[in-house]
Symmetry: C2
Subunit: 141 residues, 2 copies
DNA sequence: TTTTTTGCAAACCTTTTGCAAGCTG
DNA sequence: CAGCTTGCAAAAGGTTTGCAAAAAA
C-alpha cells in the first residue's frame, strides 16, 4: 500500500481497516467533492484516480466507511443515496426541489434541541438525517 | 361508490380525486395504523378490508394521496418507505435503531427555527423529512 | 501465508409501468 | 360515454452478493 503520508491512510488505520488503493481513492474523491454525489457519480470520479475500481466496490466501500464513521449516507426521497465525508459538525440539508441542489444548513441550535429531546426520552443519538425540501421564493423587489 | 358518509370520501372529493373503493380502503387502513407501515404492510392490511386491491395499486394510490397532501411518505435508511396519514402538525421522527420502532417528536420549536432558516435563504419549505436514529440508554439508577 | 478485499456478473428487492378491462362521474 | 383507475405481469433502477482471483498484513 503506497504513500503512508496521506491523511486518508491514517484515517483508515485508525478505523482498523485495511488500507487499499480503492479505499484511499474513494476517500480522496469524496474529500474533493463539494456537492453530495451518489454512488454512481462517485464511481465515475473515482475511476479518474484509479480505473480499476468497480461499482460493487464503491458500494461496499461506502458502507464500510459509513460503518467506520468516516462517511455519512444521505437518504433523500426518490433518488439514490448520496454521500459526504463525515462533517465536523452535524448539519441539516435543504434540498432545492427544482434544481436538486443541496445546501447545508448551520444548525447548532437545532442540534441542541434534538439532543435535548433524545435525552429526555432516554435515547442517545446515533445519527441524524434531516432534509428540508424547499423551493426558491421569487425575489422580493 | 358507497357510503358518502365516510370522512375519507369527503377528503378525496376535496382533493379532486375520484372516489374508489381502493382509495377509501387505503385511507381507512392508514388511519387505523398507529405505527408507520411500509407499502407491503399496508397491502396486507388493506386486503383485510378489500381483497381485490393489488400491490401496484397500493403504490400508485400512496403516491397519488401523497401528492394530494393526504399522506406523508417517510424515507428512512436501508428500508422501504413508510407512510402515515398527514399529521395535524409536522413532527420529527426518532427511530430506535435496535427495535425499528418510530417515535414522533414534538417539535414546534424545531419547526420554527427551520422555517426561519429557509426564509432567510429565500426558500419556502415544501416538505420536511427528519429522523434521528437513536439507541435507548441504559436506565439510570 | 492467512485473511480480507476486489471484480465480475448474476441476483435481489422495492417500486414503476404497459396494457386491456373495469369503474367513476 | 369519456376518461381515470385498476390488476396483472413484466421491467426498471439501485444495491447487494457468490465466487475465484488479487492484495494486504
Amino acid at each position: 500500500m503506497p504513500n503512508d503520508s496521506s491523511e486518508f491512510v491514517q484515517a483508515l488505520r485508525e478505523a482498523g481497516l485495511k488500507v487499499t488503493q480503492q479505499r484511499v481513492a474513494l476517500l480522496a474523491t469524496l474529500m474533493e467533492s463539494t456537492d453530495h454525489p451518489n454512488a454512481e457519480e462517485i464511481f465515475v470520479r473515482v475511476r479518474a484516480l484509479d480505473d480499476s475500481v468497480s461499482l460493487a466496490t464503491v458500494y461496499r466501500t461506502l458502507s464500510t466507511l459509513e460503518e467506520a464513521g468516516l462517511v455519512q449516507r444521505l437518504t433523500f426521497e426518490n433518488e439514490p443515496a448520496r454521500f459526504e465525508i463525515t462533517p465536523a459538525s452535524q448539519h441539516d440539508h435543504l434540498v432545492d426541489v427544482d434544481s436538486g441542489e443541496v445546501i447545508e444548513l448551520p444548525s447548532e441550535e437545532l442540534n441542541r434541541i434534538r439532543q435535548d429531546l433524545a435525552d429526555r426520552l432516554g435515547y442517545e443519538i446515533v445519527s441524524l438525517h434531516s432534509f428540508i425540501r424547499a423551493r426558491k421564493k421569487p425575489a422580493v423587489s
